[in-house]
């Protein structure tokens, strides 16, 4: 069974936490998930296949063009959903110590 500490480490890397009971549930769920995942490694000669990261080939070059001014958001719109602002900027705790 995967160690709870490992799961905690994965969660912390993504910048959130869960309570002990939730880690317990996840630990049990992982047992099933890892069994399902086993199937992935069992396919014969899988390492010879080229990984697919997009449904089908698309010619992206058609979007290359000269820059042009399009619609853009005003400062007010950009900040509209931010709870803390000062001088048209998002305010966060001080990063540089005195």
């Amino acid at each position: 069974m995967i160690a709870k500490e490992k799961l905690k480490d994965y969660a912390h890397k993504l910048m959130f936490d869960m309570d002990d009971e939730e880690y317990q549930t996840l630990q049990e769920e992982f047992e099933i998930i890892l069994k399902q995942m086993d199937v992935i490694s069992k396919i014969p000669n899988i390492s010879e296949v080229n990984p697919m990261t997009f449904p089908f080939r698309v010619d992206e070059e058609r979007f290359l063009r000269e820059d042009e001014i399009g619609d853009y958001l005003t400062v007010g719109e950009v900040l509209a959903n931010s709870k803390h602002q000062v001088n048209d900027q998002v305010k966060v705790p001080k990063v540089v110590e005195e």
């Binding site: 969660a11 992935i40 697919m52 997009f54």
Partner: protein
């Protein structure tokens, strides 16, 4: 259905505002019992001088599409007060067409889930039986159409998030070829698998709505050049000689001979009856066999790719630029707090799985191998599509499960029969679910998937099969009148 409403509007038998008010009344009437909506609009708004087949027609939009000035939560607490400042392209196109928004629908939190039970605002119930789930993640959109609140609704589909709830809700659910409809303004879950699509009560209606919202978009570099086809014009084409296949490992009753599951047996029996009716109409339908190991890998492959992509896509949810601000003395602390409070347990579990998959020691074994299996599966289906025009399969092994369903998650039935529709996302194939039978008084859908770029063919095939089911236009709302 849309064309009937269009005719009534054109003959001045009803006004658009009356249709909106009627939809609004139903939306409120059913809200407490079924919970389709996060937000129900309070004002009738229509674009002046719009003139399209959808002008004046009410609709619902999944709450993970950006709507300027209208709360958009993705059914997550981390966005519970988020009011976007720009419009998703789909919403913009519908606005320009004169369609009238009735409300934003409930989804599984951040579209990550298949049950419709994980939204921050509560579970969505199945309109055909309140004790059952409707499926997800586009749960509210499916329920709103099934209840007859709106004739169509927009959803998104990453694994089967339109096509599965369509099956459970007795409605049509269609996701076109990847890129056919712009994803701009759709909150990304797994970008290489995410599709925009529609819920309607007929295949014709699915064609009508897709005709309006499809097309290339400079805001979405993965959107496809428009095919300049009008799908509605193609739906009645002759299908004689069209070849379809079904997969033996999914459909053959012998696979389940040890099962006592009567609903499963009936679902597959009725599926075989449907195939016979299709053959009588001129379809050629054949059985093909696909390596079972490959089919069993569909679900873990989907989970691996989608969770990995989701982990990265949702890194922008920090509570700093938008969403509830966390507490703490540093940026890290406030992000940590906002994310700990903002995500529900289920979402966190999926993210941790994504994190696990992306750990250096697992990248090759899990993530890259999943991407390799994706290719094997897509190649296999593409090869079959050289001979066949489409694939036909049951969208689920029964009607919607009850809320306390505890099906075995390692069984063949779960791994293959209940999860094969992710094939459509892996390869970006156009794919549609339509209702074909009732089992134990619950609707079950049949899924038809076709070649990329051949959306017109898939809709044409589905339209002809719909005629054979006798279930065109059904809605659960009729039972509640």
């Amino acid at each position: 259905m849309i064309e009937e409403l269009r005719e009534k509007l054109d003959k001045d038998e009803v006004t658009s505002e009356e249709l909106f008010n009627e939809a609004l009344k139903k939306a409120h009437q059913y809200q407490e019992e079924y919970n389709s909506f996060v937000t129900i609009m309070d004002q009738y708004k229509i674009k002046k001088r719009a003139d399209s087949i959808l002008t004046g027609i009410p609709y619902a939009l999944k709450d993970n599409f950006s709507t300027s000035g209208i709360l958009t939560t993705a059914s997550s607490n981390i966005l519970k007060d988020y009011v976007p400042v720009y419009d998703a392209t789909v919403y913009k196109k519908l606005k320009q067409s004169g369609a009238v928004l009735v409300g934003k629908t409930v989804l599984d939190e951040l579209a990550m889930g298949g049950t419709g039970t994980t939204a921050a605002t509560g579970i969505v119930r199945n309109p055909w039986d309140k004790e059952r789930l409707i499926g997800g993640s586009s749960a509210g959109s499916a329920a709103a159409v099934a209840l007859g609140i709106v004739p169509f609704a927009i959803g998104s589909d990453t694994g089967d998030s339109i096509r599965k709830p369509a099956s459970y809700g007795g409605v049509v659910g269609y996701k076109p070829t990847y890129g056919r409809i712009s994803r701009y303004g759709l909150f990304a879950f797994a970008s290489s698998l995410d599709h925009v699509g529609v819920f309607t009560r007929s295949v014709r209606d699915a064609a009508i709505v897709t005709d309006i919202i499809k097309g290339q978009d400079s805001h979405d570099m993965t959107s496809l050049k428009d095919d300049n086809k009008t799908y509605l014009k193609e739906v009645d084409n002759d299908i004689k000689g069209r070849k379809l296949f079904y997969i033996k490992e999914i459909c053959n009753l012998d696979n389940y001979k040890d099962s006592n599951d009567k609903e499963l047996i009936e679902t597959l029996t009725r599926f075989n009856e449907l195939l016979d009716k299709c053959r009588d109409q001129g379809f050629i339908i054949e059985e093909v066999s696909i390596d079972k190991q490959l089919l069993e890998a569909i679900y873990p492959t989907y989970m691996t790719i989608s969770c990995a992509e989701a982990t990265s896509n949702n890194a922008n949810l920090t509570g700093i630029q938008f969403g509830p601000r966390g507490q703490g003395n540093s940026i890290d602390e406030i992000i940590f707090d906002a994310r700990t409070k903002g995500f529900s347990e289920l979402i966190k579990r999926r993210f941790i799985l994504g994190s696990y998959i992306l750990q250096k020691e697992n990248q090759e074994k899990l993530y890259l191998n999943a991407c390799r299996i994706r290719r094997l599966i897509v190649d296999k289906i593409t090869e079959l599509f050289k001979e066949y025009d489409g694939m036909i399969l049951p969208a689920s092994g029964s009607g919607a499960p009850k809320f306390d369903d505890s099906s075995e998650k390692l069984s063949d039935r779960y791994l293959i029969l209940e999860n094969h529709m992710a094939i459509g996302n892996f390869g970006g194939f156009p794919s549609i679910t339509i209702p074909y039978c009732f089992v134990n008084n619950m609707p079950v859908g049949v899924n038809i998937t076709g070649r990329i770029m051949e959306d017109d063919v898939v809709l044409n095939i589905a339209n002809k099969i719909e005629e054979l089911t006798g279930l065109k236009g059904i809605k659960a709302g009729d039972m509640h009148v």
